[in-house]
């Protein structure tokens, strides 16, 4: 009798496993088809035509032919816009850091003084991050006119969002032991911040800020296209005037600047780690 009951259990269990396995396979197939459908719709929406790359390659070749050799005689004229580009990034990063630090403290769930401050700070961070720096640049150009200043402001405001979020996450993930220990000594909130939170997260904050500076240098090149000054503006002007040899020179300079900034930033971050 017992054997019979046990036998039925085993059969039922095997049946259930077979159904489970079949269901699992069906789900996997459905997910694979779904992934394929997503890729196909993307190709349709972007009107992907790889054959046009082949038929239009002579256009690119013509551009490259006219851009070579680069016009190195224009090199001295790139120095000032280059300095502007780097300084736009530097200004934007500094503004971003100064504004992001207090916002991040309010937006970090583990140290925020109140729920309202938390949601308020998160809203500001979310908004400044959601609006692209290019749009901020257009807005600031209409407010303060053309030149590097609107570019710096645009990068600053956008950096507030980007840095604010990363700083807040850093604070939320830090070891709270020293903070609780300071609380118990009777230290005040501002003292806990300056003696406990700041020294604990400072290396991470500096690392993130350096990475942002590196990103902002790249962004400041693009901002020149909407009139925010710097080497991007010079690149746009050269393109519009069909000065392709100057364009190639500017591309070389941009490549050198981006690479240098990236290496310096990486080396400094490594030292801070």
């Amino acid at each position: 009798m017992k054997f019979g009951v046990a036998g039925r259990d085993v059969t039922a269990s095997r049946g259930a496993r077979a159904w489970g396995s079949a269901l699992g396979n069906a789900v996997r197939c459905a997910l694979a088809l779904l992934a394929l459908a997503v890729v196909v719709q993307a190709l349709i929406v972007v009107e992907a035509r790889p054959q046009d790359l082949l038929t239009g390659i002579h256009g690119m070749a013509d551009f490259i032919r006219r851009a070579i050799p680069p016009d190195f005689s224009r090199l001295p004229a790139t120095i000032w816009p280059l300095l502007q580009t780097v300084d736009i990034a530097l200004f934007g990063t500094l503004v971003g850091v100064v504004m992001a630090v207090p916002l991040a403290v309010l937006a970090a769930a583990n140290v925020t003084p109140s729920r309202y401050a938390y949601y308020g700070a998160r809203a500001i961070i979310g908004f400044t991050r959601a609006v692209p720096d290019l749009v901020w640049a257009l807005l600031f150009v209409t407010a303060v006119g053309l030149g590097p200043f609107p570019g710096g402001l645009a990068l600053g405001v956008h950096s507030v969002g980007m840095l604010g979020r990363l700083f807040a996450e850093t604070i939320e993930h830090m070891d709270m032991g020293p903070i609780h220990a300071l609380e118990l000594t009777g230290a005040r909130r501002i003292q806990i911040f300056s003696h406990g939170i700041v020294p604990t997260i400072l290396p991470s904050l500096l690392g993130i800020s350096l990475y942002r500076l590196d990103e902002n240098i790249r962004s400041s090149l693009v901002l020149g296209f909407v009139g925010a000054g710097g080497i991007g503006f010079q690149l746009l002007t050269a393109m519009n005037l069909f000065q392709y040899q100057e364009v190639s020179l500017l591309l070389i300079v941009i490549f050198a600047v981006v690479l240098t900034a990236e290496r310096i930033s990486a080396a400094l971050r490594e030292r801070l780690a």
Binding site: A181, T185, G186, R188, S194, H195, G196, T200
Partner: protein
Amino acid sequence: MLRVRGLSLRYPNGKLALADFELSIAAGEFVVVLGGNGSGKTTLLRCITRTLKPSIGEVWLGDINLCPLEGEKLRQARLAIAMISQHASLVGRASVLRNVATGALGRHFTMRTALGGLPACELEAAREYLSEVGLAELAEQRASTLSGGQAQRVAIARSLAQRPRVLLADEPVASLDPEAAEDIMRLLQRLARSERLAVLCVLHQVELAYSYADRVIGIREGRIAFDLPRGEVSRDVVRRLYVGEAA
């Protein structure tokens, strides 16, 4: 020095963590609390520091009852209570000396201390506290480079910088090797005597309680199971404290 009267705490989930707890510790006395996991030992310490608000009861520090206090008055009253826990919780990137001196922050509120500076007099005092715990030569070293035993000594020096009258220790030797654990217990015992501190130390190591405590309190299910001078604590009494947990 420290008196706890009729202290009870019921958590929001209905669990009674402490029930009608009575305790009194004199200056210079070293009291060890024993009890199984979840018996209410840490809850007792958190009620004394008022990081938890008791449901009913009183916690007297000298002639001040901490229970009704809030805000600045509570912060001021808390200055007399220092606490160390299982982990030293030091700021790893700061020097040992700075870590010790931060224990005095509660008594100095100036622009300098608000912006990360420390008063020169407290840095000097911190050197003395480091000598007290036998680590004067490590003053300038980064706290992250210390061993577990050294870090715990620095945490004790930090609590001394607070100039407390009561020192609470929540399993201060739980993560240390036996030799370092003995060192810390000897230090706490010595400080209780020399600084006239009322020390309340939660432990799991029964042997350490037998060796160092003036008095041993057993807690079971939030109530006092026994409160006896060290010499009167039998092995059987202590064993009974943990029987329910083992079963």
